[in-house]
């Protein structure tokens, strides 16, 4: 894998001074994906599933071909792939449909402080409505979810386990396969937030044996506005739709109606057609490079950068042992929002704040953090520019009296 060549695929990076280190928020999009969106709009930009004319047939084929690509990408079957607006709406679908209809005050839901708000808040809502108890896996001293700690909260009452595969703040990989096995022994279903996993590592839902798994297109070189929910077929078919309208129904009477089978009963209205087709192009793009190569590259950049950061001093890294390309850190005594303006001045894009994960920020006992996240288009030179800027920031803020 040659990130110098890959960089040229990304029009935003035509600006050679730009250093993009915010992939965990959203990745840049390669020309191959952008052209695919144009292709839809220019050549067959019509609705799917409805028209009995050739052009609509073409659009429908492309849309469904993309579903096929997604199912192959995570080793699922075609009917188990629901297109959503993003990982957030996929995770909400699980909670609103499965959660609200299957849980009672006798049950327990396991989440963690390491979750993105989109994984914890839907279950908080289910808990408030059904009175099912929300239980948090205690994080270990590094801030990780461990099998050992998971066992401490798993009980006969556990009905749902909702955890992340890779943390968006700490970049840790959760031992999700072991957790799923243990949860199944208690008869619980497991919903996995894979938004930070899908862009960086191969996922095999059959091997994991997860019940639900969600991810977003825009973090993996795909368009915004498209996400995926995988669900085991039997579970999906037993779940009620949460949105009603066109295309999801079968027979409609004045006081009753029936629904199509999954995935269609969960996809009402005109779907994000161009975005779904674009996601298929993104998957082709990533598979062509190889996810293992991407993961290895990111880890190398991360290790290299963390080593240099430690040499600078006055820098606190919160996740030194993480296995992926995310670095959570702060400059001693400098609020992340002050720091970020300095990096922005050097044309380095990165994130400061809560990262939509206030619980882990509180767990870290800080007001907010800075975050660097690497991807396939980042190079050692990007790391060096970041390190130089970090030194500059540290020196500048000291000089003005921080």
């Amino acid at each position: 894998m040659d990130s110098y060549t890959l960089k040229k695929d990304f029009p935003v990076l035509d600006d050679k001074t730009l250093v993009y280190l915010d992939t965990a928020a959203s990745s840049l999009k390669p020309r191959q994906v952008i052209e695919k969106l144009d292709e839809y709009y220019e050549k067959y930009g019509v609705n799917v599933h409805r028209g009995v004319y050739n052009l609509s047939y073409v659009a429908t084929s492309k849309y469904e071909e993309s579903r096929r690509k997604v199912s192959d990408f995570i080793n699922a079957t075609f009917e188990e792939i629901i297109f959503t607006r993003g990982a957030s709406s996929a995770l909400n679908l699980v909670a609103s449909s499965y959660g609200l209809n299957n849980l009672t005050s006798e049950d327990e839901i396991i989440v963690s402080e390491l979750e993105h708000h989109s994984q914890v808040l839907p279950w908080q809502n289910v808990s408030n409505i059904t009175k099912a108890k929300l239980v948090y896996v205690p994080l270990n001293k590094e801030g990780r979810i461990t099998v050992e700690n998971f066992k401490k909260v798993l009980t006969d009452k556990t009905k749902v386990v909702a955890l992340n595969y890779v943390s968006n703040v700490m970049g840790y990989i959760s031992p999700i396969k072991e957790i799923i096995k243990l949860a199944h022994e208690k008869g619980a279903v497991v919903s996995v937030d894979a938004a930070q996993a899908a862009p960086h590592k191969a996922i095999d839902v059959k091997d994991l044996d997860c019940d639900f798994l969600a991810f977003s297109g825009h973090k993996m070189c795909g368009p915004t506005g498209i996400g995926v929910l995988y669900g085991k077929r039997d579970l999906l078919n037993a779940m009620p739709p949460i949105e009603f309208g066109g295309d999801m129904n079968d027979n409609v009477e004045k006081f009753d109606a029936s629904w199509k089978d999954a995935p269609y009963k969960f996809e009402t209205g005109t779907p994000p057609i161009a975005e779904a087709i674009g996601l298929g192009a993104a998957i082709d793009y990533l598979e062509n490079i190889g996810l293992e190569n991407i993961a290895k590259h990111e880890k190398e950049l991360k290790d290299y950068t963390v080593q240099k950061m430690k040499e600078i001093g006055d820098v606190i890294v919160y996740n030194e042992t993480s296995e992926t390309g995310i670095i959570a850190f702060n400059i001693e005594g400098v609020h992340p929002h002050d720091a970020i303006t300095f990096f922005d001045g050097d044309n380095i894009c990165m994130r400061a704040g809560h990262h939509c994960a206030q619980l882990v920020i509180r767990w870290l006992e800080v007001v907010a953090t800075l975050r660097v996240s690497f991807y396939l288009y980042n190079t050692i030179e990007d790391c060096d520019k970041f390190i130089e800027s970090l030194k500059g920031a540290r020196d500048f803020f000291k000089s003005v009296g921080f």
Partner: protein
Amino acid sequence: MKDIQNLYRQVIMDHYKNPRNKGLVNDETYKTVHIKNPSCGDDITIQSKVENGLVKDVRHEGTGCSICCSSASVLSETVTGKKIEDAKEITETYINMLTNKEYDENVDLEEAVVYGGVKQFPARIKCASIAWKAFEGTLESE
């Protein structure tokens, strides 16, 4: 690179390191407004006491970056002792200055004028305005 020196002026750093009028009071004659910016974590509470048409006292408490915290301190010094209508005019002028709208340059913003440098950094305008917005809120019924 934009002039970051212009943003972190001495006045700002002084108020950040040594905030004036910091700490809330438990007194019903003060009006209290709390504003939080959930995306960045800035969290500011402003209290003001108005008596005989004058802003008698302004208190502040909260967490945030240097621009946010210092601006609460500068606010408290700038508007204390002013007539309500003058305090309102200063606040409006200050916000207009930050957001690049037309503003009356004859209105004396005193030390708060240094925040004009924030204009160059659109992502930081919120940081510099949240305390003043909260103060504006405390005067709403006046």
